[in-house]
Amino acid sequence: MDKIISLTPPLTNEVVLGLSAGDRVSFNGVLYTARDAAHKRLVALLDEGKPLPFDIRGQVIYYVGPTPARPGRVIGSAGPTTSYRMDAYTPALIGQGLKGMIGKGNRGEEVLEALKQGKAVYFAAVGGAGALISRCIVSSEIIAYEDLGPEAIRRVEVRDFRVVVANDAHGGDLFEEGISRYGRM
C-alpha cells in the first residue's frame, strides 16, 4: 500500500490494467489540462468529425483551472476541480484513447463503465491543495482555447505529482471502499 508507482504518459493498456483503486501514484511527465468549457469544445469537434488539438491517445487529462502565474513563476495555484461535471464528455474522450483523468470527487456510472470498456483510470488529487500542487508543475504552455482564460487547454510537465487511484479499470472504487471501512451508519 505504501509503494509509490511512477507513471509517465502516454499510458499503455498494460500499465492501466496493472493499477488498482488505492494505489499511490507519482506522475512524472506531460499532462493536458482541461475543464468544463474545453471539454465541451473537444466533444463538439468529435461530433463534427474534426481532429482534437492534441493527440489524446494514451494521455492523461488533469481537471484544473489555475490562477494566473505571478511574474517569474511557471503557473499559479493549480489544484484539481470537481470531476463529475466532465462526466457527460468523458466516455467520448475515452473512446478516442484517453487513458487517465486526474480530478477530485466522485464519477458517475457512465464514466465508471467507460473506464472498464476503454481501459482507463481515474486518479484523485487533493482538492484545495492548489499552492502545494503548483510546485510539482515545472512547465506550462497553452496549446488551445486561449480565449477561455483559466479554462484553456495547457500542456504541463509535472515532477512527482502525487495522486491516488480512485477508480480503476476493473471496477475498483476507493470512495466506496472508504465508506464501507469507516462508515458507522
Binding site: 468549457a37 484544473v64 483551472g65 489555475p66 490562477t67 494566473p68 502565474a69 505571478r70 499559479g76 495555484s77 493549480a78 489544484g79 476541480t81 470537481t82 463529475y84 477530485k104 470527487g105 466522485n106 484523485a124 487533493v126 482538492g127 484545495g128 491543495a129 492548489g130 499552492a131 502545494l132 503548483s134 510546485r135 477561455l148 482564460g149 483559466p150 491516488v164 480512485a166 476507493l174 470512495f175 471502499e177 472508504g178 465508506i179 464501507s180 471501512r181 469507516y182 462508515g183 458507522r184 451508519m185
Partner: protein
C-alpha cells in the same frame, strides 16, 4: 456623523480579496490539526497533512490557497450614522475593489456574465453584496470568497412543519451523503432553518462566517450542532471522500422565524479552504 470615502472602501476590499485568498484563518488551522490527531484513516491523515502544508506554502509564497478563488461574497454592516462619500454606491466601490484585487493579486477570474452564454467577465465582478444597517457610525465589511465545487453541492428543501426536527436532521445528513467527495471534505456544513426560501439560504451561508470551535449561543442549537456533526462524521466519507472520520470540521446552524405553513431548511457546503476576512472602520 462619521464620513468614509468610497475610495478607501475599494482599497480595503482589494486588500481583503488578496489576503483572504492567501492566508487561512487560525481557527481553520486549529480545527484541521485537532481532527488530524483523531483521524483513524492513514490516507485521511495524509490528506489533512497536505492541506495543512498547503496553507503554509500558500502564505510563504504569497500564492492562493486554492485555484478557485471564488465568487466574491460580501456581508456588510453599515452604521446608520455613517456617511459614504465619493463616486457611485457602496456596491460600486466594492466591485471596483474586487476587480483590482483579483487582477493585481493574480487571483482567478471565475465569473461568467450570463449563466447561459457563459462569457467570463474578466475581473471576477460582479460581487454578491449583503447589506445590513446597524446602529452607530461604524462599517464592517466581511469578504468570503465562495468556491464553485462546494457551492454546487448545496441544497434547500421546503419541508412541512410536521417533518419537524427529524426532517431537518435527515435532510442535512442526506445532503452530506449526496455531496460525497465533491465539495472537498473536510467540509463545514452551514445550515439555515426557517425564514423564507431565500432568507433560509442566506442564513446557511452566514453561519459559515462563525469562528470554528465557537458555540451557538442557544443551548438547543449548540447541542443540535454537536449531534449533526457526529452524524455527518459517522458517514465515513472522510477527507477528500477517500474514507475516514473527518468528513466535516463543524456544523453551524442559524435559525430564523418562519411562516406557519413552512419549515425551510438550507444546507450550504463550505470546503476546508474556509476563507473569510473582515475589515472595520
Amino acid at each position: 456623523m462619521k464620513t468614509i470615502e468610497l475610495q478607501q472602501v475599494s482599497e480595503k476590499v482589494k486588500y481583503l480579496c488578496q489576503q483572504a485568498n492567501t492566508v487561512l484563518g487560525e481557527d481553520v488551522i486549529a480545527a484541521l490539526e485537532k481532527f488530524r490527531r483523531d483521524e483513524e484513516s492513514p490516507t485521511g491523515r495524509e490528506i489533512l497533512d497536505q492541506i495543512l502544508e498547503n496553507a503554509r506554502v500558500a502564505e510563504e509564497q504569497n500564492a492562493p490557497l486554492c485555484q478557485d478563488t471564488g465568487f466574491a461574497v460580501f456581508f456588510v454592516e453599515m452604521g446608520r450614522d455613517l456617511l459614504l462619500t465619493g463616486e457611485g454606491t457602496l456596491e460600486d466601490a466594492i466591485n471596483r475593489g474586487v476587480a483590482q484585487g483579483y487582477t493585481e493579486g493574480y487571483l482567478r477570474k471565475s465569473i461568467v456574465g450570463d449563466p447561459l452564454e457563459r462569457k467570463n467577465t474578466g475581473d471576477n465582478t460582479p460581487a454578491v453584496v449583503h447589506l445590513k444597517q446597524v446602529p452607530g457610525e461604524g462599517l464592517a465589511i466581511t469578504f468570503a470568497p465562495k468556491g464553485g465545487g462546494s457551492e454546487n453541492m448545496s441544497r434547500l428543501a421546503m419541508l412541512k412543519p410536521s417533518d419537524g426536527l427529524e426532517g431537518v436532521k435527515n435532510f442535512v445528513v442526506e445532503s452530506v451523503k449526496i455531496a460525497g467527495a465533491n465539495p472537498c471534505p473536510p467540509i463545514i456544513v452551514g445550515v439555515g432553518i426557517g425564514g423564507t426560501f431565500e432568507h433560509c439560504a442566506y442564513q446557511a451561508k452566514k453561519s459559515l462566517l462563525r469562528e470554528l470551535g465557537s458555540r451557538h449561543p442557544e443551548p438547543f442549537y449548540s447541542s443540535l450542532e454537536d449531534e449533526l456533526l457526529e452524524l455527518v462524521n459517522a458517514t465515513g466519507i472522510g477527507p477528500q471522500g477517500l474514507g475516514g472520520r473527518t468528513t466535516a470540521l463543524a456544523v453551524h446552524v442559524e435559525a430564523h422565524p418562519c411562516h406557519i405553513a413552512s419549515l425551510p431548511v438550507a444546507v450550504n457546503m463550505q470546503c476546508h479552504s474556509a476563507r473569510h476576512l473582515t475589515a472595520t472602520w
